[in-house]
């Protein structure tokens, strides 16, 4: 009994240790980040949501202003060489780390080196050898060489960073934010190892905020960094990121005022919330596209008419508005709609009405020898996520109704679904891709047969056209070439475009300056609190 009492007292002590948090309700912005961050190591973290913490705590050469526009960050200006292959960044004068140490150009070079180093086990190296092709990056990532001097990112002096690429890439500015290339405080890493990224007292950062508290599975508390160059314009003193996996709980926490910005909105609440608090509901396109890929090695899906018929038979508006109801935007192209300067093509039949599309679909399907009398049997592989499964069931229903197709939906856990893509057991793959930036090239480059063999698409013309685009240093002429490539892609209909996925966020009226950003950049330093 005595022991029981002692145990009880011990647990009581533990409970008492949870003294109520100091009241700072008015000067703290409470933001939801969904699941727990997978890492706070700035060169390793690859989660978009944890990226918000990174973007607040670190600053890249550039940063992303309200709406996600590229604005000068640690670099106050930059120049591009005439051939578009070399960028020179000029750092601001007097930049400091949160501990007061001077921030120098080499800190950015070290960050790229650490990201590429195979021992870091970072999945972000592809930004530097694939999204843009920095000289020497691929060899460092593949362990061909360990010589840092081979890298095309150099610091000729403390205030200059030079990036040399193998091909011009006007979108390089889109991947120089803190998510991709935060500077690295080498003395801290050497002294503390990676623990230096998770113990608030040891973390040295250079962004508008610095770490004050890190509680795994619960929250991260950031406080304003007095050594930040633009600290005078940072309005909110504290930002707290809360882990809340259950979207229903997160919504209630928002209602109770525990959160001012959510990570998601429960899908079944969207309609009601839009009616009741329209100014707090932010549903806007993200850079995630959903498309249904056809397995070109499974006849008759190697027949363009069959693929075209299947694509035309999908009523994309009804699918999103009546069946999935998650706020996704129906789409008839693959890479369009993110970069306003990109005028891409739409798939064949996009300009018809749905009735006309369905008539055309029946015609093409009959031509290929299929119809209600000779039904085509298909499997659709998708993930078990509720909206994805509902989407697949909706598509199956439309194919059944219009073409008499007998489609079986096969939902899989996400990890199994990812492996299934390469196992190739699918006829139709409920596919999705998150772009690395809000532009056409990130999507189109991914579909290159040379880059992604999993689609079994043989199309040298596409690779050739993408190679042409890759020689253009300026956005306009590059986008024109990219549009030609997208036409080749859409004409072959190796997938049916379905939708652009939305980001769904609730923002309390206390929070000022919230602007939807397709790439999902919402730096707290640009927000205000009333």
């Amino acid at each position: 009994m005595k022991r029981l009492i002692l145990t009880a007292l011990a647990a009581l002590a533990l409970t008492a240790a949870l003294a109520p948090a100091p009241a700072r309700a008015d000067d703290t912005l409470d933001r939801g980040i969904g699941s727990e961050w997978s890492s706070l190591d700035p060169q390793v973290n690859f989660d978009a949501a944890a990226g918000w913490i990174m973007m607040d705590a670190y600053e890249g050469l550039v940063t992303f202003g309200p709406g996600g526009a590229v604005v000068p960050g640690a670099a106050e200006s930059w120049d591009m060489s005439a051939d578009g292959k070399t960028y020179t960044f000029h750092l601001r004068d007097g930049l400091k780390w949160s501990n007061g140490d001077p921030l120098v150009a080499q800190d950015f070079v070290n960050s790229v080196l650490r990201t590429l180093n195979p021992d870091t086990l970072s999945e972000k190296g592809y930004y530097f050898y694939s999204v843009v092709q920095i000289k020497g990056a691929a060899d460092l990532a593949n362990g061909v060489t360990k010589d840092p001097a081979t890298l095309g990112v150099t610091a000729p002096d403390d205030r200059t960073v030079v990036i040399e690429m193998l091909t011009p890439a006007p979108h390089i500015l889109d991947i120089l934010g803190a998510f991709q290339i935060p500077p690295l405080h080498t003395p801290s890493l050497e002294a503390n190892g990676t623990a230096g990224f998770t113990e608030p007292a040891k973390v040295v950062s250079n962004g508008a905020y610095m770490f004050k508290e890190i509680v795994p599975q619960s929250h991260v508390l950031l406080e304003k960094n007095p050594n930040y160059w633009d600290a005078a314009n940072v309005k909110i003193p504290f930002v707290k990121y809360h882990v809340t996996e259950d979207v229903g709980t997160e919504f209630k926490r928002f209602q109770a005022g525990e959160l001012e910005v959510t990570y998601d909105i429960p899908v079944n609440m969207i309609e009601q919330l839009k009616a009741e608090i329209p100014d707090q509901v932010f549903i806007s396109p993200s850079t995630e596209v959903t498309y249904y890929s056809f397995n070109l090695t499974h006849p008759p899906l190697d027949n363009l008419d069959v693929r075209m018929a299947l694509s035309l038979a999908i009523d994309r508006e009804t699918l999103q508005e009546k069946i999935v109801k998650g706020g996704a935007i129906p789409s008839y192209s693959y890479a369009g709609g993110f970069d306003p300067s990109y005028q891409g093509p739409k798939m064949a039949g996009a300009d018809l009405t749905q009735a006309e599309r369905e008539a055309k679909a029946k015609e093409l399907f009959a031509k290929a020898g299929y119809g209600p009398d000779n039904p085509l049997k298909l499997t659709i592989v998708t993930t078990v996520a509720e909206d994805r499964t509902r989407l697949a069931q909706g598509v199956a229903l439309m194919w059944k109704k219009v073409l008499g197709v007998e489609a079986q939906v096969n939902p899989m856990e996400r990890k199994a679904w990812l492996d299934e893509f390469y196992a190739g057991g699918w006829d139709v793959f409920g596919d999705n891709l998150v772009g690395d930036f809000a532009g056409a090239e990130t999507f189109l480059a991914y579909m290159r047969p040379s880059a992604e063999p999993g689609y079994n698409w043989v199309k040298p013309e596409y690779d050739a056209q993408m190679d042409v685009a890759a020689t253009k240093p300026d956005k306009e002429s590059r986008n024109a070439e990219l549009a030609k490539a997208e036409k080749i892609l859409l004409d072959d209909m190796i997938f049916a475009p379905i939708a652009v996925e939305p980001s769904r966020i609730l923002v309390s009226p206390h929070v000022k300056g919230w602007v939807p950003s397709p790439a999902g950049y919402y730096n707290s330093q640009y927000l205000g609190l009333e």
């Binding site: 647990a11 999945e123 795994p216 929250h219 709980t249 856990e413 199994a416």
Partner: protein, 306 residues
């Protein structure tokens, strides 16, 4: 006594060994792996990652490596949470799960036994109906319905406690503890009530009453001891179940315990984390069962082990 404990521990150890072996190998049969995620990653980088986590080795060799680590109390690195080892994750999550579990079992025992006694002493009275109603609600309505309802009422409507998280201080734990305790209050009150009724009819109780012992003393001295035996038999496994079974509670109330990690780790194929929590939970259940048997032996000479 010692022999009994040693024997049970030996049996428990064998069970645990079978449990972890089976889990380790069955887990590998599930399609997908911890790093089958980003199709953009170059094969070389992926190979590096696989090598660093020893996923390129044959499964039996990985098992050997894991056992070797276990012998050194090192459960390995997590593949999903790259900043932390499995030991770190358990060390940060277990106190929360234990706190909630401990208080839930305390609340469940006190309230459940009180309701049970009240029900048995005044059968078909108001308190009996109240206990019966709580019993039906607690057993029949699942936690994932009660939880959100409790949040909506006590946190949103009345504003007495936070909806979730722990950042709001200790009162954030009240709802999860109560909701976790509720089904157990129900079971314990029904168990207490029925065994009380049985014991009240025993000859020794009648004798005590006949000798002029007051009603209160009879109940506290004689009836309760006998009536609580089945409750104690239930409490052991229930304690283990409450601590390991708070997965839903931790998700609904955003409590940073380890229950949440269990499901998440399985879905993310975080093999080391799944193994770590499996062995921890397995050990807890075994220890709780042995402890229950010992307590029962201490209270009831008929089931004494020597």
């Amino acid at each position: 006594m010692l022999r009994f404990v040693a024997k049970r521990l030996w049996g428990g150890g064998l069970t645990l060994a079978a449990l972890v072996t089976l889990t380790f190998f069955v887990m590998r049969l599930a399609p997908g792996g911890p790093f089958s995620k980003n199709r953009k990653i170059s094969p070389e980088v992926l190979a590096n990652i696989q090598e660093a986590f020893h996923l390129d080795e044959p499964v039996w060799q990985q098992f050997g490596r894991w056992l070797w680590g276990l012998a050194h109390l090192d459960l390995g690195p997590s593949t999903r949470f790259r900043d932390y080892s499995v030991n770190d994750i358990i060390a940060s999550g277990l106190p929360w799960s234990l706190t909630i579990g401990f208080w839930a079992i305390v609340v469940a025992s006190l309230v459940g036994i009180a309701l049970g006694i009240a029900g048995a002493l005044r059968r078909n009275g108001a308190s009996d109906y109240l206990a019966g109603t709580i019993g039906v609600i607690g057993i029949a309505i699942p936690i994932f319905v009660i939880g959100p309802l409790a949040q909506a009422f006590f946190a949103l409507r009345l504003g007495w406690v936070p909806v979730g998280g722990i950042a709001g201080g200790w009162n954030a734990l009240i709802l999860p503890i109560l909701v976790l305790a509720l089904p157990n209050i129900a079971y314990i009150s029904r168990l207490t009530r029925s065994s009380m009724i049985e014991v009240l009819r025993e000859n020794y109780v009648r004798t005590a009453r006949a000798k002029g012992l007051g009603a209160r003393r009879t109940v506290l001295r004689h009836v309760l001891k006998g009536a609580l035996l089945p409750v104690i038999a239930y409490l052991g496994p229930a304690t283990a179940a409450i601590i390991t079974g708070s997965i839903l509670i931790e998700t609904i109330f955003a409590v940073p315990g380890i229950g949440r990690h269990f499901v998440d780790a399985a879905l993310n194929r975080d093999y080391p984390l799944v193994m770590g929590i499996t062995i921890l939970y397995g050990g807890l259940v075994i220890v709780a069962n042995i402890a229950t048997d010992l307590v029962r032996g201490w209270i009831d000479p008929r089931v004494r082990h020597d």
